[in-house]
Amino acid sequence: MDWQVRKDGGRLIGQPRGRVDETTWEKFSNDLIAAVREAAAAGLPLTVDLTGLDYMSSRGLRALTMAKREAGDAVAITLAGPNERMREILAISRYDKLFEIVDDVGL
């Protein structure tokens, strides 16, 4: 799993690529938490660009939860551009009730 982060349009955008499973979730979690802290320090919201992500298992979903807890009220987290598979996973896990999900990153 690859991870890139950039600032764009008054927000921080983190972009994972590949899949998040039992072999890659720790890197994803660490990168995501670092992005939350960077966004908090800069006073920016965080968009997680999911367009390059194949899927994530519960390990990845739980990393999202850890990030949300780290963010608290300081950083708003939005999930953007999930593919059909990710959209199904977010719905089945009911994470679509925990996170704001938008269709595209809106560059």
Partner: protein, 320 residues
């Protein structure tokens, strides 16, 4: 081994209300679309083949009680939820046919929904019965005795006629019980709970209910992957959605269908039985949860062999 589910509901027994039955009948009549049936058997066959389980059947509402058949002679039962009453009636029938009157119980924990069937367990009144209660807890006997006290129930424990033995086990120890290897694992739940692995003739069954898998304790996750390893059947607490289990219902001591699938995948388990169903769920809700879990397994399976996901219901039998 043969696994019989006598109670599969979590937390509180539930019963079908009239409107739920009416809805099933209505859906069946609409599906029949004017057909005529020569007999009830013919109608039953139509229902089996053409209606979904939530319409022609029901998942049931008795709380946790699962029989694992496969010991040399004795009965082996996980938990004493309200499903125990039905098991007790059936066990008396089998004993009348010559079955040994020894009962080995394996207690996940002593919360009310897991012991409430015991006061109605008819074999406890059989002077020729031996009842052995295996637990990881030191206070299993106290919990059963307290439940029979007069303020809660009219029949005190000491009036029961069976011979009782209470055995406390340590997690990780392998004990042989009437030809079956049994191992315990401690689980995250209020006052702790214990999961069990039953193994015989190269086959294994896991009973893991009332077990929360915490986000921030991946060492524990690895321990469960090891405990579930290569199991033929994993009976797993799937009471909540993952979203609920990490938010509103965090620290309520239960797990999700999502985590159950991922643990079974990592452990290379062969079959997962969804268990300890949320009491507020209708049959349609449980069927939907089952379908979603099957779909989730497909979505994250990758190169692994398929994990069969079944949904436990009161009366289900699974051969392992």
């Amino acid at each position: 081994m043969l696994v019989r589910f006598w109670g599969t509901r979590g937390s509180l027994p539930v019963a079908q209300r009239a409107e739920a039955i009416r809805a099933k009948v209505v859906r069946a009549l609409v599906a029949a679309d004017g057909r005529r049936f020569a007999s009830e058997d013919e109608a039953a066959a139509f229902a089996q083949e053409n209606l979904d389980f939530a319409t022609y059947g029901a998942f049931g509402g008795a709380t946790s009680c699962v029989e694992v058949e496969g010991a040399d002679e004795a009965f082996m039962i996980c938990d004493m939820g309200s499903g125990l009453r039905e098991f007790g009636i059936d066990a008396m029938r089998r004993c009348a046919g010559g079955h040994a009157r020894t009962y080995h119980f394996f207690m996940s924990h002593m919360h009310w929904d897991h012991i409430m069937g015991f006061p109605f367990f008819a074999p406890a009144f059989d002077a020729n019965a031996t009842i052995v209660v295996h637990s990881g807890h030191a206070d299993a006997e106290e919990a059963l005795r307290r439940q029979q006290e007069e303020i809660s129930f009219p029949v005190p424990f000491d009036w029961l006629r069976a011979t009782f033995e209470f055995v406390q086990h340590k997690p990780g120890e392998v004990v042989e019980v009437d030809g079956v290897e049994v191992t315990l694992v401690v689980q995250h739940h209020s006052h702790d709970s214990y999961g069990y692995r039953f193994a015989r003739h190269g086959r294994s069954v896991i009973y893991s209910t009332d077990s929360e898998h915490k986000l921030d304790n991946m060492d524990s996750e690895a321990a469960f992957e090891s405990f579930f390893k290569d199991a033929d059947l994993v009976i797993c607490d799937t009471m909540y959605s993952l979203g609920d289990s990490v938010s509103l219902k965090q620290d309520w001591g239960h797990s999700s269908n999502i985590v159950a699938v991922d643990l079974c995948h990592a452990a290379h388990a062969k079959k997962l039985a969804l268990f300890h169903h949320e009491p507020t769920y209708s049959d349609e809700d449980i069927a939907r949860m089952h379908a979603e879990t099957v779909r989730y397994e497909e979505l994250v399976r990758a190169e692994r062999p398929a994990l069969e996901v079944i949904c436990a219901y009161d009366g289900l039998e699974v051969t392992v």
